[in-house]
Symmetry: C2
Subunit: 307 residues, 2 copies
């Protein structure tokens, strides 16, 4: 089934304990659609960049089967830019520079050829922009998934609540789940957040894995224990892209298939953090993904026999 991804396509400049980069391609829309492209053959991207964006980066996305018809290129404007520095533990970071540029007045136009999409992934953006995209689709997709962040809880609460009420799956991290629900216990947080509208909630815990909740069930997937996390940028978006890409490819939105999707998303995220930016993500082979998923099976598999 076809997947529509809206999100940022941008430049990042990164500093980690392992080194630093100049401006490299980043953004939620980039990581999500690249990750999804390993599962679904039809990934339609809606995003905006300036005329400083590199043609070879767009070509790279197209080579991954990503339809860039909905990628607006604004002449005379600059792409969104984020510069950050990770601390030694890789779990905390400082934002050094944020330049909104083209993202400040982003109008998410939907090409006619995207109107048939069955799966919609709303990458992190202003919740009003995410909602505009939903409203521009003449037919509601089979599944709408949304990612967001604490920033929008601080500055756009009402907009955020409105958009959250319209989606099927919400994906946030543990600190954001606590902020959104005002509950410390993630089980209590999940109950409150599911009452806001989404039928499913994914709580991402970084190196501690991810939880999937619906009204009755909980599923937990670990993160793969790694020797080194080289660069965590984009791991959450890569996870989301693998998740929704797998759902779109299998066209099965049951809880048991979402469990598999969580594992595939976690596997994709484990590749993402092995190199800077999208470097590891652009050159994967299907066999590598299958091997990585098998590592997750081995990591958590056990057999209980009752006497």
């Amino acid at each position: 089934m076809s997947l529509l991804v809206v999100g940022s396509v941008a430049f990042d400049a990164l500093e980690t304990p392992f080194g630093k980069t100049d401006k490299i391609i980043g953004g939620s829309g980039t990581y999500i659609s690249l990750s999804a492209s390993y599962f679904t053959k039809k990934t339609n991207l809606v995003a905006v960049v300036g005329d400083d964006f590199r043609k070879e980066d767009i070509a790279m996305m197209q080579q991954h089967g990503i339809n860039t018809e909905g990628l607006q290129i604004k002449e005379g404007e600059k792409s969104f830019f984020w510069k950050g520095r990770y601390h030694n533990d890789m779990n905390s970071r400082d934002t050094l520079v944020t330049e909104l540029n083209v993202l400040e007045h982003f109008d998410p136009l939907v090409p006619e050829s995207y109107q048939d999409c069955q799966y919609l992934m709303l990458g992190n953006l202003a919740p009003a922009v995410q909602r505009t995209l939903i409203e521009r689709l003449r037919k509601r997709p089979k599944l709408i998934m949304m990612d967001t962040m604490n920033f929008w809880m601080d500055v756009a609460w009402d907009d955020l609540m409105h958009t959250i009420s319209m989606v099927d799956v919400l994906s946030i991290n543990d600190a954001e789940a606590r902020q959104l629900s005002k509950e410390y216990s993630l089980v209590k947080a999940a109950k409150k957040i599911l009452a806001m509208g989404p039928k499913k909630l994914i709580i991402k815990k970084g190196e501690h894995g991810a939880l999937l909740f619906d009204q009755d069930q909980i599923f937990f997937a670990p993160a793969l224990p790694l020797e080194d996390v080289f660069d965590p940028t984009g791991a959450g978006d890569t996870f989301a892209g693998g998740f929704i890409g797998y759902l779109a490819a299998t066209n099965d939105t049951s809880f048991s298939n979402m469990k598999r999707a969580i594992i595939y998303g976690s596997a994709m995220a484990s590749f993402c953090v092995e190199k800077f930016g999208v470097e590891r993500l652009v050159s994967l082979k299907q066999a590598q993904i299958d091997d990585r998923v098998q590592e997750f099976v081995d990591l958590v598999q056990f057999e209980i026999s009752y006497a």
Copy 2:
């Protein structure tokens, strides 16, 4: 197979956001042996208390089939006492009072009837005391497991290294694994720690679950997502007790059986935190433990089918 447990048997006074207690029974030896008692019929305890210790608490342990022949009662002395206050997140705590009392000069005497033990659990104590116990056993047990804490890394490094080199399984938390190995990555930390002597390493991550490492394999078990953690005191010891109790009961030290043991230990810890102190731990039924283990199966079970 018979299990020998050495550890503290003590008084705790606890303050959590849910309430506070007067002096209640606590200590690593208490939690470990109570938890293990649900699996193995022969749990032999070595510990020391003062004459202020309550006879009904000793009777409670005996009712759980714990052999207290090795529990020394020092006339005219006081039991070890710890008073602590947990913060709202339940992950951090302040020690308000520590009175070593009888623990200061604890000589771990081993009754003759304990000499045949096949499984030995060294609860958190000074590493020199733990080692003395190993040395007093005429025949090396089939499996020696050791728990310790950051305090001994700070004040008794050489003793700690010596004792660690003598055990089969070491159990510590993630912060302690990082301190012991001087590595942030838990995968790297595990490699260094396994080089110190233990054949297996368990890294406890509290609400984030636990990892089991050997030279070639990693197993991960989540903690059960709970609505409320009422009192985390003793959860790590209860985990260790369930783990070694299960191993002793099944007398199988293979990696695949240790996976099951980790799940049983995690199930026992999930009960422990539901009430103050040992309250929940003293009244469990086998069916409740089996149901809880099934919750772990449901939490992590997924099926991958390759096309």
